[in-house]
Symmetry: C2
Subunit: 485 residues, 2 copies
């Protein structure tokens, strides 16, 4: 172990002669001129509170000076960014291929004029969908629906489930006059008692429907009326996984049994579960995942009961787990009925199967239904992802990052536990919420950004263009911080 850490230690900056860089001209390491966040950021944050909710602001960035894996701030600091705008920038900052796409005269109309895409689509709309979104769709899905954000992606995925459920119930009959009238007033039978079942610690967004399936933190939900929908326990696995196989299997079965019990319990009081939504790794809720067997069994429950199986890949999608979609690690025989995306996918929306596409118009519908500007960016992102083999890169870097974290877990077993994750989608627990916060703060002071999740976890959410030296800077900086404690 010592040998490896010494080796890592020697690599605290990227070599300037490094030739395999995915983005040329990046800094070779962080440069810090102030404590972090710096005085200018703090002053601007205080001022901003007078005109908008600024309590969630971390710092103010100089995006013109940011490049690749590095973000510049208003205090002259340059930081290695392992949180990437809450995991939303697949190619980091100011990637030259995206800039090039923005400058390409053939794209100018798509940047200038945003049409109502569900109402008056552009001439080549199907080609655009096929060459971008459908080219990376989970195998076996039929279509894709675009939305403006992940939360809306989930809201409309739920709608597709509700429409399917009620159409099945009607058996081909038209809705009754009573249904059409009562729905207008938020009343049964038109606005029926249907539910989406979700899991403890899940996070699916902040609009009322998706918020009703989120159970991660009070700050997301306090004071907001929500729908009375059921939540099942999510398996709390023991680590290391290989030492607790049987116990963990039992824990997963307990949760699956609860799912079935809850569906029956709700049915008994007149509420039908039309869909189940789950993240491949619960990110906001603390980077918890179950084993592939759990998700397979969950899908089997959905199939058995004809419930729509919705997988929320807003944070797990687009290469970071070492596969395009996190659920590819499960080995499902058929894809989820609906796969929701956003963040690193640039546009939000969901993939779905044919039986869920409503025949009647204006039901899965709103004014914008996506954004051509975002598809121009996505084209560049997917081209670069393929050319540079970034999915494989995130698998490779993930191995190095996870090994580094595991070594630190051995070295600082009182400070680091539950190293976990798939590909480069990694996390560990600090010894307490305060200890975790302190690690994040001191890493910031040394020029490396990471993000908390759950009560005391720290998550790594790098861009898909990290290289070995960036992984090493992250691990070595964390080592330095832990050493000081």
């Amino acid at each position: 172990m010592k040998r490896i850490l010494t080796h890592l230690k020697s690599q605290t900056r990227c070599s300037k002669r490094h030739t395999s860089s995915y983005v040329q001209g990046q800094p070779d390491g962080p440069t810090m001129k102030t404590a972090f966040p710096g005085p200018k950021s703090l002053a601007q944050k205080a001022a901003l509170q007078n005109m908008q909710a600024a309590g969630g602001v971390s710092f103010f960035a100089d995006y013109n000076k940011s490049l690749g894996n590095y973000v510049a701030d208003v205090d002259g600091n340059v930081l290695l960014d392992f949180l990437m705008q809450i995991s939303s920038l697949p190619l980091g900052y100011n990637h030259p291929r995206i800039s090039e796409a923005m400058r390409d005269p053939k794209n100018i109309s798509r940047l200038t004029t945003r049409p109502a895409l569900g109402f008056i689509p552009p001439a080549d709309w199907m080609d655009q969908l096929n060459s971008t979104l459908m080219s990376v769709a989970p195998a076996g899905v039929d279509g894709v629906q675009l939305m403006m954000c992940g939360s809306c992606g989930n809201e409309y995925a739920f709608k597709a489930a509700f429409i399917y459920h009620q159409a099945k119930k009607r058996g081909g009959a038209l809705p009754t006059a009573e249904e059409n009238e009562s729905c207008l007033w938020n009343k049964k039978p038109g606005s029926p008692d249907l539910a989406i079942l979700s899991f403890e610690n899940a996070f699916h967004g902040r609009t009322t429907g998706s918020l009703s399936t989120s159970h991660a933190k009070p700050v997301h939900k306090l004071d907001f009326p929500t729908l009375d929908w059921p939540h099942a326990p999510f398996p709390q696995l023991k680590y290391p996984l290989e030492k607790h196989v049987k116990e963990n299997r039992n824990e997963e079965q307990r949760c699956l049994n609860e799912v079935e019990r809850l569906i029956d319990e709700r049915a008994a009081i007149g509420q039908s579960v039309a869909g189940i939504v789950v993240e491949p790794i619960m990110a906001e809720g603390g980077d918890h995942a179950a084993t592939p067997e759990f998700y397979k069994q969950l899908q089997a429950i959905c199939k058995k009961r004809d419930i729509v199986f919705i997988v929320d890949e807003v944070q797990t999608g687009v290469a970071i787990t070492g596969k395009m979609w996190g659920h590819e690690h499960w080995g499902l025989e058929s894809p989820p009925d609906i796969t929701v995306f956003a963040k690193k996918m640039i546009t939000a929306g969901f993939f779905y199967k044919k039986h869920l596409i409503p025949e009647q118009g204006h039901r899965i519908f709103n004014t914008w239904m996506g954004d051509p500007h975002k598809l121009v960016i996505l084209e560049a992102v997917l081209e670069v992802t393929k050319e540079e083999k970034l999915i494989e890169n995130m698998a490779t870097q993930g191995v190095r990052l996870k090994e580094g974290l595991q070594k630190l877990q051995e070295k600082y077993s009182d400070q680091v536990s539950k190293v976990r994750g798939v590909g480069s989608f990694l996390a560990f627990d600090g010894s307490s919420p305060e200890a975790r916060d302190s690690i994040i703060r001191r890493m910031g002071d040394k020029g490396v950004l990471a993000l908390g999740c759950g009560s005391q976890s720290l998550r790594l959410r790098p861009a898909n263009i990290i290289e070995q030296c960036h992984a090493d800077i992250f691990i070595n900086t964390l080592d330095e911080v832990l050493k000081e404690t």
Copy 2:
């Protein structure tokens, strides 16, 4: 009357020598090569249904060939567009000033890299907000919050109202442990029984919270679970307004009384109304408006009861009524507590007053909180709006359009009724839903696009760059269609 119509009739195209055009190079009138929608559009629509919900598609456009007030379609037709992507394009298609902003090298980073604006704002964030959104804010508001769409704008406006309501109730105390825990499971007291009161025929969006305040059409709501929130009747005014002053005043008072009765009725069963939301003109619900006195009284009820007064200007905002905001026509002494915007404002969000800005972070929060690309567009839109005096233009063109509609109402009193609206935000009723649909279809065949609303209304939603000849083409085409019936 005859004289005026004859005069209008002579103006069926814009003069090619016309020099005051807001957008140079526009066609001088529609060109139709097929029935509308044409065969290529219909074939593409059928194909698209295999991969997404396409029932709401009207036609497929060639956006590269569209300019100003004219949209080109895939069948070689060019139409004068008086619906403008559901009233979302303030400067029409491919406006040169927006294209120029897209090409400006100083904007390239804002087009390339989308940050999490509520988490890591750009260095000049406050300057950007002040020079764009706040420069056109209703007088007396303090701040602005950005969102991705109008529906989310309303959802988060509702949240601001709920946070304010509960903070007031706590009187400075922290939330209890029971509140923090129960909210996670969608239960009281943390997820309290609060409501937003809305009106019959309102439309505020399609995510679950905003959908619970929408009561326009079953197609928006059928099969979707919603929150049990109250709706009040909205004044059904008699036209012409000047002949029914007293009756209409009584009708408005009846509705205001109902608002107060509903608030008390809900309070009696434990539900508190924290906010009231209303559109200056109910667009989707049929272009209904009340008199300024109604809205003043509604604001007075809110003030008396300390309920948050939310005005949804998603469709009425940005010049089309002849003022920047529709509610400016009411002559309020102080602005609404919250004014929600989207569509022609390019970005979505809301203006609000200081007492509604939450001090605690991460409550009015999500990943994106707006989009820099949209602010680049908005800068150009607001500059052009000011330079070209487009607010005044929409007042001026509105006079001509409304006069034209009124003449047609006199001429075809069996086919056209209830001509109404403010500025260029105009509508009339057809004699039946089918007759209205037929008018829209036949206008399409003649190369002029309009949009239905409510059960049998036709609404005009032109871009803010229409000129006299565009108004005349619209009126004359409508005249031709009505004449054929």
